[in-house]
Subunit: 258 residues, 2 copies
């Protein structure tokens, strides 16, 4: 089994993506939001690329069960219900709801790797659950940090490195690391005693502090607070074990458990 | 002053490259060869992309002063004078000679960034000289690892990180690091007591050992063995202080010192 990490969110993504399990990581903050929301009872997240697409998509669903969430310039979008802080995505707001989410980097990343054999959302919140799930699957893994507007982001590498560390520590079978995943592991080892230090060093972490979201840094650095593994399939992110909520009039009725 | 490092040899290179000083790094082994050859008295290196181009280019120059060097699959190319081991590029072979060089990654990298304000060749051999030169120039720096067939290479990141460390330690003025250059610095710090360990962990280092070039690893890990700063300009790499050798019939007569 090989573990690789995609250092830059290049498009098109490298070949053979369809043979691999993919973990999309945008710790600050899209995948932290996604994991948090689903762990708090959100039934599904629909990641979309643009604000316009979010408003358009919302028309397909009952207003009572649908929320608009996301950010531009780190801030809540006008007319949206929620911003991009995981602290907002609590049970009393999201339980039983569908969230249509658009963020600068993270939500696009899911669509970039939609051809992956399985596409999961990872963050520090569910790092142990993702690590465990990977071993069940046994196929090659590509960690896909969403980056910071096309640039490499330190915090996502550190999270990817922690995932690699968890998988290696379980000691199941031979695992090959690429130079990139080896480097992610080293970066994680540098910050493992203090993940927030990595956030504070990172460009995006510093931006968030400047824009008033400093509390999100410590919040997003919480490790293993849920066992949820959100999985992206057919344009929708759901927990493998959550019940489906069908779009209005489509009555799909399919379960989410693969 | 900002220091950035290009993690993947993407094409086209990012915008604004023309405002920056560039250091191309291919420690294993193209830029080690280039720095070594010039430090041993080679008058110029002409990096070309293909074997055919190398043979073609050689026709423009007197045979007595022209050598063909490089590799494919790490091995010397049929009909060439020299391979891609810096140990071959010693004074008794290269002094007073022009080397037309083609390698899998490094020689292409120079052409990718030819629009840079200044394009230098860096390796562990001349890391101090490059670091000092950078401070003289004062403009933003982009470190450009040539990668391993489009993939990220650990050993070049470690070398880039050492260059950053040297520049920071001189303490001249405020220096901004990107997430990528911050990561390179951390990777260097991990291996600074044992650079060969980084080579042995890297994919390309392991390939070289397998192909019989293990001795090149320790050789390429030598630090500050020369003060030469080879600079790429108009398709040719020369030391800033070396005399020019004009192509046959062109009689350019221009000096190399900018």
């Amino acid at each position: 089994m090989q573990i690789d990490i995609q250092l830059l969110p290049v498009s098109p993504v490298p070949s053979l993506v369809s043979t691999k399990a993919i973990v999309v990581i945008d710790v600050l903050r899209a995948t932290s939001v996604i994991v948090h929301a689903i762990s708090q009872g959100a039934l599904e997240i629909i990641p979309v690329a643009t604000v316009e697409e979010a408003f358009q998509k919302a028309k397909n669903f009952p207003q009572s069960t649908t929320l608009l969430g996301g950010e531009r310039g780190s801030k809540k979008i006008k007319g949206f219900d929620l911003g991009n802080s995981p602290r907002e995505y609590i049970a009393e707001k999201v339980k039983g709801k569908r969230v249509i989410l658009t963020t600068t980097n993270g939500t696009k990343a899911f669509h970039s790797v939609s051809s992956g054999r399985e596409v999961m959302a990872g963050s520090f919140f569910n790092i142990g659950a993702i690590g465990g799930r990977r071993l069940d699957l046994g196929q090659d893994l590509l960690i896909f940090p969403s980056g910071d507007e096309g640039r490499f982001s330190l915090e996502d590498m550190v999270c990817g490195g922690m995932l690699i560390d968890r998988i290696l520590n379980k000691g199941n079978g031979p695992i090959t690391l690429t130079d990139a995943s080896q480097s992610a592991l080293i970066l994680y080892q540098r910050f493992k005693e203090n993940l927030v230090e990595a956030f504070r060093l990172s460009t995006h972490g510093r931006d968030l502090i400047e824009r008033g979201f400093e509390e999100d840094l410590a919040y997003c650095a919480q490790i293993d607070i849920t066992d949820i593994v959100p999985t992206f399939r057919d344009g929708v992110i759901r927990s493998s074990f959550a019940p489906s909520l069908s779009p209005r009039g489509e009555g799909k009725g399919e379960g989410n458990d693969r």
